[in-house]
Amino acid sequence: MKLIIAAIKPFKLEEVREALTAIGVRGMMVTEIKGFGSQSGHTEIYRGAEYAVNFVPKVKLEIVVPAAMADQVVETISSTAKTGKIGDGKIFVLDVGQAVRVRTGETGEDAI
């Protein structure tokens, strides 16, 4: 099993969810986050005072899938979330040791 963590532009969330559901992803965790990468921050002016916006809002997806499916999921996210402009986000893939479905006690790939 693989855990895929993706930080994407917030307005792309719904599109990415649809694309992932279409390829058989059955669940995901979504968090509103702030952060910076190569997009870095920028400055704004409020009532004459300049202030830095160091963290940009993003949406973080956490998806656990069978290892065999991971590449397809990564490919789907990266093609759907892509605008070609700076700040499109990042995707990380990690190994998952165990998964448990709380209601039934199923484990491993049965639980996801």
């Binding site: 704004e44 409020y46 009532r47 004459g48 005072a49 300049e50």
Partner: protein, 444 residues
């Protein structure tokens, strides 16, 4: 502004046809009749509830421009200060402001002390206080709202770090003594009025008074934590809700028609109604001029328009036209308002340079634009004298600043005026009230 002071205004109106666009014929002096008395009273009542609604405007503007952790406190202060103004203007302020010729110190201190008294229930025409003027209740109601507006100005500047109770005690002193006393010098027929000082609806008497009290308070209280960095850097604390701030500015704009229009003090003749109409139109266009000036200036200076400055610009336009909303043409009123809008765009960062932390921009809007508006009277009203206008601005400024400073220092020594550092960081809503304006939102 009662009978005694209506006379010079009536005289001023009589010489005005040469200036007024709308007035081609001589305005006949209004002969007291029941209808005139009734219409004058209606003007005060309608004007009064419009000015009352400015309380909502100040509350929304301030709620929108403070951070979300201080919104409940700002709303609490606004409703409390309005209510305190209502009570203390009745108990002391009204008679202190209108001696009706009975002075303890001639032209300076009223000889009438004690609560305001209204006419009897169902009073008849021959028993009213002033048959040539209006119902005492309508006059009291109208004047009270100006007093409350003065107090509202102070709360915005001192937001996010002043303790509730010392602020409210200051409000009591401001509305019962400081405001009415200086207002008696002009509107009560006191020495500034005798000198020929002109302030139609209160650029100085109302707005600069709130502004001076706010300025002294801001200096004594100090800036919000983290507002000014060590190397002179100014940190922006963006407001929590610009939707509310915009609603507040529009409410104030609406209320100002009562503020300036009602200050005509009469609606019983063609000339008076024409004048009220001129005042409404001039007041509106001055606000528009201020807003557009701030819109253009922020685009030029910062490459992006700053909505909060545009709102301040509209309000500065309104304050600027308040000292003389009658004599300017529409074009002149627009320019007078626009200068107010430009003043705001430069005054807001200038105060920050001085490390005077004015959360909502009340000092630029009400004090600095108020001074400008008071001076601008001389451009359109030939009865105004520049020296008298400046003298009055200075006299009122010194009196209000010194009186306010004394009160602030006493409060500081006796009970402290500033919340503890930790409470300021947590936010006054939770720390002082245990209640949040937006409990279901994440912290911002």
């Amino acid at each position: 502004m009662k009978l005694k002071n209506l006379l010079p205004i009536a005289a001023a109106v009589a010489v005005m046809p040469s200036l007024g666009l709308a007035q081609e014929a001589e305005v006949p002096a209004a002969v007291p009749t029941d209808v005139v008395w009734i219409l004058n009273s209606v003007l005060f009542l309608v004007g009064g509830f419009l000015v009352m609604w400015m309380g909502a405007g100040f509350a929304m503007l301030e709620a929108g421009l403070v951070r979300s952790k201080n919104v409940t406190m700002q709303l609490t202060k606004n409703v409390a200060l309005f209510s305190l103004a209502a009570i203390f203007y009745y108990l002391i302020g009204y008679n202190l402001m209108y001696p009706l010729g009975t002075w303890s110190i001639d032209g300076v201190l009223s000889g009438i002390w004690g609560p305001g008294v209204l006419e009897a229930v169902g009073v008849s025409a021959d028993a009213v206080d002033d048959y040539a003027y209006a119902a005492t209740g309508s006059d009291f109601f109208f004047q009270l709202m100006f007093c409350a507006a003065t107090a509202s100005i102070v709360s915005g500047t001192l937001a996010e770090r002043i303790k509730l109770w010392p602020f409210l005690i200051f409000t009591i002193i401001l509305t019962s003594i400081i405001y009415p006393l200086q207002a008696s010098w002009k509107w009560g027929g006191g020495f500034l009025d005798e000198m020929g000082f002109l302030d139609f609806a209160g650029s100085t008497v109302v707005h600069s008074v709130g502004g001076w009290a706010a300025l002294t308070g801001a200096i004594i209280l100090g800036p919000r934590l983290g507002k000014y960095g060590k190397d002179g850097k100014v940190n922006a604390f963006p407001g929590s809700n610009l939707t509310l701030a915009t609603l507040g500015a529009f409410i104030l704009w609406l209320g100002w028609f009562g503020f300036n229009g009602g200050s005509q003090l009469a609606m019983g003749s063609i000339g008076d109604v024409a004048d009220v109409s001129r005042i409404f139109s001039n007041t509106n266009t001055a606000a528009a001029g201020g807003a557009i000036a701030a819109l253009i200036m922020t685009q030029l200076l910062y490459k992006k328009v700053d909505l909060t400055m545009v709102l301040n610009g509209a309000l500065a336009g309104l304050v600027s036209i308040t000292a003389e909303p009658l004599t300017p043409t529409l074009g002149e009123a627009t320019i007078i308002g626009a200068v107010g809008g430009i003043i705001v765009v430069f005054a807001v960062p200038f105060l920050d340079k001085l490390k005077i932390d004015d959360v909502v921009g009340a000092i630029p809007v009400h004090l600095i634009a108020g001074i400008w508006g008071t001076i601008a009277v001389v451009f359109t009203n030939p009865d105004a004298s520049l020296m008298t206008q400046i003298y009055s601005i200075v006299v009122v400024g010194i009196f209000v600043s010194v009186a306010s400073a004394i009160v602030w220092f006493i409060l500081k020594a006796v009970m402290g005026i500033r919340v503890p550092e930790e409470d300021e960081i947590t936010g006054l809503d939770v720390a002082e009230l245990g209640m949040e304006a937006y409990p279901e939102f994440s912290k911002g």
